[in-house]
């Protein structure tokens, strides 16, 4: 007999018994242990629909007695049996003449009763009872298997129910990697096929990028019986979307870096203040100072004041959210203005103009060159237009300078990118990067030097793309 569901198996058993013992009708009752009742589970016969689901107390009626005693019964004339429950006949209009019952067992435990009604060609005999009891006995193992199947199915449904209730996309695979089930959350993803494709070869704990979203992948394996009761290994893949978390973490990191940077800049602001206040205090003291010392102090106060002014200007530029007033700026002219004999500027072709905040850009280049001048003995600056924009190359830096630029606050700690926001040691370099990036440019830094590129595709205040040259 092919394995079927428990109900289908019961139906098949009843049909076979009814055929075998040529009966007009038949019922399989199942025991409801909670309520000590028998339930009309499978009913064959003219009034089957009316009887399904009806109940009978254990010990009540012929079937109830069979369930109680575990012994089959033959009733050739129901009228002669006081314990016959005629209420069902009255209710349905069916006329029960004779009955044959046998208990249904699984592993010696009574699970119900099979009852045949009205033998078509005579009355039930002891042989019939023996046949039915034998038949019921042999059905036991089939029922057991059907019950196991039913439980597997129930477990499977239970598992799928749980999987469906989880808001994260989940994929269930068999050991060959075939999809066994995909939950509701996964089915609702419009890009599910792409996501599933991308998970192959991904390890547990890895991340999957799909359709602009990021998921972490958790894989776990478990064994479950298949439809024929074999233990089979399955794998679940749970996708947890972490796009928001990543964005939040990035925002937090940016915020933290920015806070650190401003703390560093604030510290830098205090440095020129000390000599300004201190030297002016000395000048104001009753001490008689020679004229050349007074002049020297005044010059230093002036220098530090200018330095402070620059830092304040950097602070103001950075605290502004937009680019402020912009105009067409000739980069070549700007670089030559800043040259001042300290380094060489080569403008390779003209005009090289970008739409920029002239004050910010000039200040940024000025503080960059100041930082380089502090560390390098000499360097060259060249400016040219390239395919996609404008390029400034600073080269000729000696290896010590390159190393010095990379030195962070700590003694032996070298930072990869001195232009990075995390470099609180050099507010100048960080300021430079910020201004360049605000103007749609980027900075490449390596041992050969510094390459600054402004692209033609810059945007104006309204976000509209503008042309490279005027």
């Amino acid at each position: 007999m092919q394995v079927k569901s428990f109900r289908d198996t019961l139906k098949q058993i009843l049909d076979l018994a009814q055929d075998l013992l040529k009966s007009e009708a038949g019922t399989i009752f199942l025991l409801d242990n909670e309520r000590d009742e028998l339930v009309f589970e499978i009913v064959n016969g003219p009034k089957a629909d009316e009887l399904k689901g009806k109940r009978l107390k254990i010990g009540e009626g012929i079937a109830g007695k069979t369930a109680q005693t575990g012994e089959g019964q033959i009733v050739t004339r129901v009228k002669e049996r006081k314990d016959f429950q005629s209420k069902f006949d009255r209710a349905t209009g069916f006329k029960t003449e004779s009955l044959l019952t046998a208990p249904l067992r699984i592993k010696d435990r009574i699970i119900g009763v099979i009852e045949l009604v009205n033998k078509k060609d005579g009355v039930y005999t002891d042989d019939d009872l023996q046949i039915l009891e034998g038949f019921a006995k042999s059905a036991s193992s089939i029922l057991e298997m059907a019950l196991l199947y039913e439980r597997i199915e129930q477990s499977r449904k239970f598992l799928y129910g749980i999987i469906d209730s989880i808001p994260h996309p989940i994929l269930l695979l068999d050991k060959e990697g075939n999809i066994v089930y995909q939950n509701r959350a996964l089915n609702q993803l419009p890009f599910r096929e792409e996501l599933i494709k991308k998970t192959t070869k991904k390890r547990d704990g890895g991340t999957v990028e799909c359709n602009g979203k990021t998921f972490t992948l958790t894989k776990s394996s478990f064994n479950m019986r298949d439809e024929v009761g074999r233990m089979v290994k399955y794998t679940t893949l749970i996708f947890v979307e972490i796009t928001d978390k990543i964005m939040l973490a990035e925002l937090m990191a940016q915020k933290e870096v920015k806070e650190r940077f401003f703390a560093g800049v604030s510290h830098n602001l205090k440095n020129p203040l000390t000599p300004i206040i201190g030297l002016s205090q000395i000048l104001m003291s009753p001490e008689n100072l020679p004229d050349d010392v007074i002049k020297e102090y005044a010059m230093r106060i002036n220098q530090e004041g200018k330095r402070l002014g620059k830092l304040v200007q950097m602070f103001i530029s950075l605290s502004r959210d937009d680019l402020g007033n912009r105009s067409w700026v000739n980069i070549g002219d700007m670089l030559k203005r800043l040259e001042n004999g300290a380094f060489s500027v080569y403008v390779l072709d003209e005009p090289v103009e970008i739409y920029a905040n002239s004050e910010d850009l000039e200040l940024a280049l000025e503080v960059l060159f100041e930082t380089l001048k502090e560390k390098a003995s000499d360097f060259n600056v060249s400016c040219s237009s390239v395919d996609s924009g404008i390029q400034i190359i600073i080269d000729g830096l000696d290896s010590n300078t390159v190393q010095e630029l990379k030195r962070g606050m700590e003694q032996e700690f070298l930072i990869d990118d001195p232009f990075d926001m995390s470099n609180t040691n050099s507010a100048n370099l960080v300021f430079f990067r910020e201004i360049v990036e605000r103007h749609g440019g980027n900075i490449e830094y390596n041992n050969d030097g510094i390459k600054i590129k402004f692209f033609s595709g810059m945007k104006n205040n309204t976000g509209k793309l503008i042309e490279k040259y005027v």
């Binding site: 604030s266 510290h267 205090k270 440095n271 020129p272 203040l273 000390t274 000599p275 300004i276 206040i277 201190g278 030297l279 205090q281 000395i282 001490e287 102090y297 230093r300 220098q303 530090e304 030195r407 606050m409 003694q411 040691n425």
Partner: protein
Amino acid sequence: MKVLIVDDEPSIRYLFSEFLKMKGFDTDEAENGMEGLKKFHKDNYDLLILDIKMGFKHGIEMLEDIRRQGYNTPVIICTAYKHLEEDVRITSSENVEFLAKPVDLQKLWEKIEKLLGLKTNAG
């Protein structure tokens, strides 16, 4: 008396040096803790003025080093970072005074007087 000024800011070293010379001190300068330690071991100093955050070696590390080596030279720590002041207090609070940046020369002088016991009873 001789003071060693350790600060990575040349303008601050210049200011302190000028001020202390005016007060009759000899001064020496170093731009980081590493250089400061070298100078400290070569000469005898009555006072050290250290910036707390410098390249190469911080003032805090330099202070740790000299205290570990058994020197109890008076030290003035200049800092713009309040939390670092706490770190120093844990390392050493004896013969150490703190000065917040930007440094006020009057306050610097008061700390020097206190550490070197220069305050007379006249005032």
